[in-house]
């Protein structure tokens, strides 16, 4: 965590989880684990967030919601699938209404396995995600420096428009 210069904010969405992983995500914010020590804040607004934490599997109705939230986030961002359901659908993957893991809708960077996950695992996952975020940021910065009319700018405009 020492190399961390920025405070990443996370947004959490419960796709169709059983609440087990949700409350563990919340438990990370509370005194015992307190991720605010790292400057990590749970925000309700996708436009402020760097890390998208998804719990639960994808179904027909929330597919669009997840996509919407993801599209609204500013672009160098990372997605963490927390819990077995977000990774693969878990015990429910054979249910008629479950399409599978979050990877079905948006690209996921880090998978945190566990049913339900422990707060420590979530912290580990976030730490891993931060590394990826830094890489992505560096790549993004390099790209916007060299390109005049690159896709990155267009992307940024699109995000603002949302």
């Amino acid at each position: 965590m020492s190399g961390l210069t920025k405070s990443p904010w996370i947004i959490h969405y419960d796709a169709s989880s059983c609440n087990g992983c949700d409350i563990e995500v919340l438990a990370c914010l509370t005194p015992l684990y307190d991720v605010e020590r790292f400057g990590i804040l749970n925000t309700g607004n996708p436009k402020h967030a760097d890390i998208f934490v998804v719990t639960g599997s994808v179904n027909e109705q929330n597919r669009q919601v997840i996509k919407n939230i993801y599209d609204q986030m500013p672009k160098p961002n990372v997605v963490i699938g927390v819990g077995i359901c977000a990774c693969s659908g878990g015990v429910f993957k054979e249910c008629y209404n479950v399409a599978g893991g979050v990877g079905q809708v948006i690209p996921v960077d880090v998978y945190v396995p566990g049913c339900s996950v422990r707060p420590e695992q979530i912290i580990d996952g976030v730490v891993k995600a931060l590394g990826i975020l830094e890489e992505k940021r560096a790549a993004f910065a390099a790209e916007s420096k060299k390109g005049t009319d690159t896709g990155a700018n267009a992307d940024a405009k699109k995000d603002g428009g949302n």
């Binding site: 990774c87 054979e94 209404n97 479950v98 399409a99 599978g100 990877g103 079905q104």
Partner: protein
């Protein structure tokens, strides 16, 4: 072993509402309405409770029979009736708050009315959508089933 006494009385479509009104007048509380499909018969259980005494009315219908709504007696029945309509495809008329099949939107229509819903694991519909974007996505990897296509994916990874 604690086992509650649970009575089940059969009712017909015609006297359902009147029987339910009788329960209401006696001061019973509607606990739940649950449906099940066994062969071709839909079995709808109306459960009531009063001071921990548990009583059921059971309605047996076949496909296509229209069931009268009991939301006129117990308003809270709307949530169960909409659910039964969505999941089983039983038509229920005159629901006070009718979602018209939009309470629970499922990917399969009336999932409980079809014989065993087999979701084919190997062919998830949205898989190809952004497979390129996510690269090798662990949840899609079918390594657990060695006969499907891990070879192709491994080759992709190597390349």
């Amino acid at each position: 072993m604690h086992k509650e006494e649970q009575t089940i009385t059969e009712v017909g479509v015609d006297n359902l509402v009147s029987e339910v009104s009788k329960m209401y007048d006696e001061g019973y509380r509607l606990v739940q309405i649950g449906c099940g499909k066994y062969d071709d018969i839909f079995e709808i259980n109306y459960s009531f409770d009063k001071d921990c005494k548990f009583v059921n009315l059971r309605l047996k219908i076949t496909e296509g029979v229209v069931v009268p709504s009991i939301t006129g007696v117990y308003l809270c029945a709307f949530i169960y009736e909409n659910e039964i309509h969505d999941l089983f495809g039983v038509s229920i008329k005159d629901i006070a708050i009718d979602f018209k099949g939009n309470l629970i939107r499922t990917s399969v229509k009336n999932p409980f009315n079809t014989p065993t819903v087999t979701k084919v694991k190997a062919a998830k519909p949205a898989k190809s959508e952004n497979a390129a974007a996510a690269g090798a996505k662990p949840d899609v990897k079918s390594d657990a089933k060695p006969d499907t296509k891990p070879d192709a994916e491994k080759k992709k990874e190597e390349a």
